[in-house]
Symmetry: D2
Subunit: 382 residues, 4 copies
């Protein structure tokens, strides 16, 4: 099954394994005319790079992106954009041991059941490196959204028990802290918490959040293609995510209607909401307010202590995973959340262009008919 494609109009197909020759993505359906160069994409890829701090793996990943097609004289042509990152530092030897057994919390067993065998080097396609293609494509989506007045910002909301204070939220801070926390105090506390967990040969989970600002009202479709439904799929498709929320999320289940409804009022001539419990989406369609998405991420399953499992021969064994693994997934996944959100929102905006006949007629210049004829002859062969 074609499981590596995403989107309807702006459609991406990612490819590549952790320890294969390269990873990449093809963007099919990017509108023509976007100014684009490798640096635009590289900045996003660098955000998923392991940092200098102790809390990310020291594995060196020098992910240099190459634009192979779809850009001519610095602008997108409307034809497929192929982006590739060569793998440079893979050492297959590190991983050979895991070929024979099933690591708890990993996809080793399920891939074997599905496909009969698996590329076990570094997790193959189930590795976090799979997200290289998502981020490369998402960078293009983000740049395009900016041209349409829409910003997409993701950051770490909490790590273990440490939660960011959103009154101190600063986008720039979230781009510079090792945890991707949007304020420095929580960042410092989270780093301390992570170092302790690491010393205890353990790992921790966390929560990341994404806001979409500037999205017009009316984006998203009723029933199955609701904007929140597609965001839920986009976000749950990121490895290790186990819960997705829109707006206030699970908290609404213990509320009363009188507490949870967002009242409408007028603000500068526009309809606005007094609160945003709904997270910017009503009936699956954007309401003009900030869209809020939240993802809960499990602790890194690779931990450096003995674990019980079974091998391919059906024997129960104890394993000790080696190699380099982050004690937390969240900080490097934040940019993936941002990219998946951007891809979803952009596609919904493109799809939305055909919602109203009057706007289509405007687009094709026929809203005031009676102009000169288009097209021609009755005969084919003369």
């Amino acid at each position: 099954m074609a499981g590596s494609g995403y989107g309807t109009i702006f459609r991406i197909t990612t490819w590549g394994e952790s320890h294969g020759k390269a990873l990449g993505v093809v963007i099919d359906g990017c509108p023509a005319g976007l100014s684009l160069e490798e640096d635009d994409i590289q900045r996003y890829l660098d955000r998923r790079k392991p940092g200098a701090s102790n809390i990310t793996t020291r594995r060196k990943e020098d992910d240099a992106v190459e634009i192979l097609s779809g850009v001519f004289r610095g602008r997108t042509t409307g034809t497929p954009i192929s982006l590739m990152v060569r793998n440079t530092s893979q050492i297959s030897g590190d991983y050979s041991e895991i070929a024979s057994y099933y690591r708890p919390g990993h996809a080793d067993y399920t891939y074997d059941e599905k496909y009969g065998f698996r590329d076990y080097r570094g997790g193959g396609r189930s590795s976090g490196r799979e997200t290289v293609g998502r981020v490369a494509a998402g960078a293009v989506a983000c740049k395009l959204l900016e041209q349409l007045g829409v910003q997409v910002w993701a950051y770490t909301r909490s790590i273990g028990p440490v939660e960011a204070d959103m009154h101190r939220f600063d986008r720039e801070v979230s781009l510079s802290t090792p945890t991707a926390m949007p304020e420095r105090e929580a960042d410092a506390a989270a780093v301390a918490y992570l170092e302790k967990a690491k010393k205890e040969t353990d790992s921790v989970g966390g929560c990341m959040e994404c806001m979409v600002k500037g999205l017009p009202a009316g984006i998203g479709d009723p029933v199955f293609e609701k904007l929140d439904a597609n965001l839920a799929k986009a976000v749950m498709s990121i490895g290790a995510v186990k819960a997705v929320e829109i707006g206030d999320g699970y908290r609404v289940a213990s509320r009363k209607g009188s507490e949870n409804n967002d009242a409408f009022h007028m603000e500068g001539g526009s309809v606005a909401k007094s609160t945003n419990h709904a997270g910017g989406i009503l009936g699956g369609i954007s309401d003009g307010d900030t869209v809020m998405v939240r993802a809960y991420v499990k602790p890194t399953p690779s931990i450096f202590r003995g674990q019980r499992t079974v091998n391919q021969s059906g024997e129960e064994i104890e394993i000790h995973i080696k190699g380099r693994h982050d004690p937390i997934i969240v900080p490097r996944a934040v940019v993936v959340l941002e990219c998946m959100t951007a891809l979803t929102v952009l596609d919904a905006m493109l799809v939305n262009m055909s919602a109203r006949l009057e706007r289509i007629a405007d687009f094709y210049g026929t809203s005031h008919m009676g102009k000169g004829s288009r097209g021609g002859r009755n005969f084919t062969q003369e």
Copy 2:
């Protein structure tokens, strides 16, 4: 945009408005040979009917389903199955007032922004009645899954602060309680809580849960078509759902890896997990364990007290919603969760059939080649 279609192989398209002539669904891609009659579907539709109790609306909905195509001599033929339910009790007069303003927590405003106008009678397409088509199609999916050894069971997990005790879980009980709770004690407490809220002209939220039992390992696809990603979309597409969880969901964010990993062991010759924090899915692919999905539902937005809002002329007004509305959405949405889960799981099973070459070769009888020729001549015109 074609937002009312769902699924790849087993694909459904729903249609119909709350107060239109009828609602229905077309199932395209149902395998041939399933024994099917209207009663199989009616039983599911009856579960979303308002009950006799005080906690559901007294609006009479006599949803009798009619099979219009795709079944011949009691069995599905492989061609589209068209199912229709006529609307019988709509009284448009009840709703005419809401034409001009935007109810808080409803999709009135967003539909107007998207489409320029809306069918305001009973919420039109954004009404909960939209789910009639989903449930009719889901009933067929559930029957088909049973033939494949898979059960899908949804029920109410909590209402406001009242949570079901899962040690007393009983599927049959969940089908008979007014709250769809799977045990009677919580049901009684929840009913009391709901009656109090109703008296206070308020509404409450809740949580519903679904388990998939008997699903083979290996179902679901890597990357974007992960089983959990598709479940998240399916569930978030149900109106009023604001959060979706797989397995332990948001709780994993505050755990350590050593707590959250599910150890593998052998059980009766098969690989099994000692715990099921993962909810039956690893790397987006089923692991043979029970799949667990949870959905958090907001309180009914229609409440019987004054609310602030704006009208289409941009005036701030106070409104008093009339009509008949449940004080909670969950009990009648449980069957919708069950159906959306079933549709997702079934489609993933059908898609999975082409995962391995050896199984395809078996299917087409070519795994031991060298048999007699199939097909024929070199020439077209002789």
Copy 3:
């Protein structure tokens, strides 16, 4: 497999069997704001009705269409439009004999091989009545295209050896002749030819043609979603069509480049072509000229003389088909060609709206940035 759906943005799903309860179609993705009533659709359905003449079957088909959803106060709402035609005159007894054997030129054998059994009444889903849904949906597409300045006209080009003289082409004539020929002389000759064939208990083939006028240049996509590729699929999907041509079609294979190239010149300030061998499409994209599509249709396979075949028990037998069958398929298929062409062209126009960034930015009002902010708050829970 979901084989009864067609289109990306404007997507239809047809359903129904020749002798089932009803036939119909769901249109998902029709833009909001189109004025639509049952008469708009009925006019198209009436064109596929058997006529008064001798050359079409006397089976009475009173196909009255009912709009079940998606239209409110006379305009489309943007939500699915469900259209249904009840079957009124089916008499299953007529067809019971064919249950056991395979009619030459029909799909009896292939349906049995695919599905294990079939609805044999009147051909079931493989009957020409399957096109009721296509025509109902196509009528809506045609009306929408007219609003965008595009006309789609199909007619009979030839019947057996009788070809229409295109210098006498008259759209109105093609709507009134029993053969759907666009000029009366060929119509008369064709009728005579058909009556002779009928007397000889035989049937004849023919060719039908469709022109699309007023289509702007730039519609269609490179590579696989070429406008001509999609037209080819649309047209070949009509039962009994065995060849599809664009522009001069198969004639180009025996031409020189110097004969076949269409020179460009200027005409009233616009780029135009001096000839239209290409049929209005270059590189899969419309060039602003009339799009020309042609379909070759086989003779009706049901003929009233003895034929050799086999039955389900594998015995060779001679059969004599009874019932009422047209000696030619073309005249009643012309409106199906028109509808399939319209559906394809309309969908391509909707898809094309996202081809250029500058036009998307115009659509969303961001081409001259720096206006007031959209959207809002940073915080979800306050």
Copy 4:
């Protein structure tokens, strides 16, 4: 719009321009377990290489394919297979002149109208080099089909007035002649014809044909996803194809039913047809006979004599195209026809696996129920 993707289960996305850095394809949904190496693909790519003869361009195209992902230890893993061919010989200088005007018969004008500008180097995405990705993917499809007992063979049927004598048909010959004709006499005559046309600074058209042997009956879906409908799209999507036929194609339009019907009879215990006018497809579904597809190709539009056209400033000019161009497209397009046919047939076979419930139950081992339980626990958190 995502126009560069093709297929449902076995889905490909091609990318790349004539003079960009590289061209390639991602195959998403290839079943796991196929033995695959670069040579398997290279053999197909070599067939679209310009040959040593006078009738193909002398432009050197050294298309060496690289497998970048999806293959581990010589077998496909079920994850996306990324294939790339670096462009080595492009000299952009050759083409700079064409930037400003519209070549007759080319897509220059339509790309400008669609996208606002175009990559004019060698035709960019509209070049015949676009088919590199199709052929690379098609090679994999062909290898997979062979494992399933299906052969796909394309060859040149006619060039200008020279037609191959099918009684001398030899697959091996078709792989070695410069014209891809399947017999040497017609090949010699066609070469002579082409050399004459070339001397006259002209180009010629032709016809190519493809047969699918060994395809089981039952492949393809009713209505829109008919096997012949999808073949028509696949084939018409190849640049320069203007007509597509199945079986006897346009010839059926002038036949009687008694001539055109293929009688069924028994042959070695199986149902067979006495003739194959239908080209192996009835009602859109394969009938077990050889599938026959034919494509008519226009003469190369680039000819070496003066032509009238217009430029981007709207001036009428005369142009003289330079560079290297084949006087005929057909011989190098034959392998593209073979590949597009293979991709279509393979996808239809994979999709067909879910047609019957009994076979799905067999696949999942539930046709004789009552075996040991699968799956597990009722509780998530313990």
